[in-house]
Amino acid sequence: MADLQTAVELTKLARELDVPDSDLAFLAPIGADALRDLRADISEAIFAAHAPQLHRIAALTTLLPITLTTKIAELAMGPVLCAKIAAVLEPANAVKLAKQFKPAFLTEVSLNLEPSRAAAIISELPDALVIDVGTRLLTMGELITLGRFVSFVDVDVALGVVESASPADLLRVAVFTEDKSALEAIVSALPDETLAEVVRVAGETGQYDDAVTLLEALSAESTARLLGLVAGISTDLISGFVSAVDGHDAWPAVIAGIGGLDSEQLAMLANLPEIADPALIDRVVRHAHRADAAPSLVKAVLVLDEQHLEVVSQAPALAEPKIKKWLIATTGVSPRLVKAVLSELGV
């Protein structure tokens, strides 16, 4: 999974340094967490380097009438500088100014704004204005910026923006959303039909990696909901999804969601041809062991067809005494029953 998050962080850092993503490819080996910290340090350093100028300009705005300040901002400073200046203005003054800007200019400002420094401003802007700017960002394809702002607006405002997004764009915004609790709130508020469309389009357009990234960011409850919707799309598309989960080793997220799936949904996913692979089953069992999720594992085994049950018995992990002991002790059903099932499976 790290490679996907690393790509997202590289894109964000490239935006900060105003270079193409490819110019920063050499940073990929340090990983997503280190890249996130590095971006924060670089952003802070660049901001600090201009702090004296920023504070002087902020002081100037208090001397002039707001209409003149607006004119100077739009015609002399431009959106890049205004975005930096906004961070040092008194929030109340910044809000007054933002309301005066043309929405198109405010949209350009938002592209260059560090949302964490402007949280107090964003929260005081009228919802309609934020939705207008957000919709313009969507139209411009500025999904990274949208993803970064999602964490700083109310869920209703975020929904107001994404309701006009295509399923593919919605998925990308989700991937770029920095605050996972905000993402969780938005996904929870999206209707099943919208989320199902996102899943279906992800399959049709090969955005499996993005779908897996989303899956990993969600709670167990939302993961189960998403997996249930995945189970409802055509088998061909599900197969690609399962391959992406396995390729990115995202099984811990899937295992966490198994508890919320009904038997029919789980059977649809668990009996796919791609699952009938002893090495894959072995990886799933080991992840379930690490997550101490024996009940989920048992629930999945109980819906397998004959062909898949045959493959389960070939997974090396199930022959290991410590894993057998763990299964017998923690599945939540009678140890005798578990032993009998393992015996029946030939383990």
């Binding site: 900060e16 340094l17 105003d18 270079v19 110019d23 920063l24 050499f26 940073l27 080996p29 340090i30 990983g31 280190a34 910290d37 590095l38 340090d41 670089i42 802070e44 350093a45 660049i46 600090a48 380097a49 201009h50 100028q53 002087r56 300009i57 002081a59 100037l60 001397l63 002039l64 003149l68 004119k71 100077i72 015609l75 002399a76 400073m77 431009g78 890049v80 500088l81 930096k84």
Partner: protein, 78 residues
């Protein structure tokens, strides 16, 4: 700790320990990152200078002196 990393740490105002993950990179890569940060800071400073000069043109004449002394407290510009 290599020179390139120390230079980048100094530019960012952080300890070299904070940049420990970058030790895995080649020196030339750290140098390249430092160059990019430096370039971004320089272009940003130039943009500010230009923006401030432009802003002064819009300030009404009676306020221009006050604005100039506020924006250039050392009197080194304008």
């Amino acid at each position: 700790m290599n020179t390139e990393l120390s230079r980048l740490a100094e530019r960012l105002g952080v300890t070299t320990g904070r940049l420990q993950p970058l030790q895995a990179l080649a020196k030339r890569d750290v140098q390249q990152l430092d160059d990019l940060v430096s370039s971004t800071m320089t272009s940003g400073a130039e943009a500010f200078d230009k923006g401030i000069e432009e802003a002064l043109r819009f300030v009404p004449r009676p306020l221009r002196g006050t604005a100039r002394s506020l924006l250039f407290p050392g009197g080194d510009r304008g």
